[in-house]
Amino acid sequence: MVLVLIPSLLAREAGGQGRFELEAATAREALQQLPVRDLLFDERGELRPLVNVYVDRTQVDDLETPLQAGTEIRLVAAVAGG
């Protein structure tokens, strides 16, 4: 079981839920189970460039890295916009 924490805008889009406990072997597998997966990945399955993924407080680029049980995944929007 891993824990996924998502920002407030995504939580609103997920019906008010900001924490998800999931069974997942990789970060990609975890994120693809979220009800907001279409906001994280484009139609080619590419992670949107301004979505940053932290696994146990370390930013990861490789979403295929195996996860340990109890891992926390946190999604953070890159500093952007105005």
């Binding site: 407030s8 805008l9 995504l10 609103r12 889009e13 907001v36 279409d38 906001l39 994280l40 484009d42 139609e43 080619r44 949107r48 301004l50 979505v51 929007a77 890159a78 952007a80 916009g81």
Partner: protein, 361 residues
């Protein structure tokens, strides 16, 4: 039954409501916080609200509400086919389909793409014929990207559709979107000095069809204001005779008067503010032969700009005209342009206004 205007902004959707006098307005919102609302409308067939929504991190999508904005559902999985090598970048405009097809809607946006929904906006399928249009290689993005911003359905024939893309031009379909023919004859592309009247590549800023005389189209273009009386087969340039400039973005039509149109000229492409240091709206009542400046109630010291979706018209009597500025003011004329009130100010940058009927019952 009251009046309402949906105001799409860079920071969510606002709803302004009033009674039929349209002199005093209440501001509700924002809805859809965190989303840039490029356009929102109330579908007159179902009463649902639909919004073309974008976020700089989470991409482009569409939202709908069947309870006047209390709750919203997001359309999922809007995307372009892999073989197109295109990805969906921005949602620009959402348009109801024909009254006989109440579950059909259209969504246009960047990169020059059109989607159709057959289930009231839950899911969207790309219109393949636009993606694969044989002239696509001649299309060029304007400053806002290669955006499909205008979608019009002929009320007399559900098979006849129009779209306009900046900068690709206007296109007409006679077969429900299976095929599209460029409709840019007589429309200038002055930014191509070697070929100022090409088949495609025109920078349409907004295209509208007159609902009571659907063979009549109007467009505000990068290079002038135009009218067509033959479904876009030919266009007449209408600037001069009172218009200070042919450059501008929005255009609004009076649904009760096919000869009436409203534009907000800007100085030009190089200085995109209203001319003469004031906010001036220009009205024609003779099909574009002459234009008069409307100023009563509008700021006489202003360097305003109004985006392509920034004007609207209601169906009350007398007709109301609506205008939203990039500086966050909404102006309303409850008498067809004769006088104006500022219905709201200091909203976020306004991207769209759309008048609609409103009832909470």
């Amino acid at each position: 039954m009251g009046a309402a205007v949906l105001v799409g902004t860079r920071k969510g959707l606002f709803v302004l409501t009033s009674d039929e006098t349209r002199r005093e307005w209440a501001v509700e919102g924002p809805h859809l916080t965190g989303w840039e609302v490029f356009h929102a409308m109330r579908d007159p067939r179902t009463g649902s609200l639909h919004a073309a929504t974008n976020n700089w991190v989470y991409g482009a999508t569409a939202h709908r509400s069947s309870d006047l904005g209390e709750t919203w559902e997001r359309s999922e999985g809007i995307g372009l086919p892999e073989e197109s090598e295109l990805t969906w970048e921005k949602s620009w405009h959402v348009e109801p389909g024909h009254p006989d097809e109440p579950e059909t809607l259209f969504l246009g946006g960047t990169p020059g793409a059109l989607f159709r929904s057959g289930d009231g906006g839950s899911t969207w399928e790309p219109v393949q014929s636009v993606i694969e249009h044989p002239t696509r290689e001649k299309w060029n993005p304007g400053a806002g990207g290669l955006c499909c911003h205008s979608i019009q359905v002929d009320p007399s024939d559900p098979q006849r559709l129009y779209i306009a893309i900046s900068a690709a031009g206007a296109f007409r379909s006679e077969d429900g979107g299976e095929t599209w023919e460029p409709k840019n004859s007589g429309v200038a592309a002055d930014f191509f000095p070697d070929n100022p009247f090409p088949e495609v590549g025109q920078c349409v800023h907004k295209l509208l069809l007159h609902p009571e005389r659907p063979e009549r189209l109007w467009q505000q273009n990068h290079c002038g204001v135009y009218r067509s009386d033959d479904r876009g087969d030919s266009w007449e340039r209408l600037e001069g005779n009172g218009l200070p400039s042919g450059f501008g973005f929005p255009i609004a039509l009076d649904p009760a008067d096919p000869d009436a149109a409203y534009v907000v000229p800007e100085e030009g492409a190089e200085n995109r503010v209203t001319p003469d240091g004031r906010l001036g709206i220009y009205r024609t009542r003779d099909g574009g032969a002459s234009w008069e400046l409307l100023t009563d109630g509008l700021p006489q010291q202003a360097w305003a700009s109004v985006m392509r979706e920034g004007m609207s018209f209601d169906r009350l009597d007398p007709a109301g005209v609506y205008l939203g500025t990039q500086s966050g003011s909404v102006f309303v004329s409850p008498d067809g342009g004769g006088s104006w009130v500022e219905a709201a100010r200091f909203l976020p940058t306004i991207l769209s206004v759309e008048a609609c009927e409103w009832s909470s019952s």
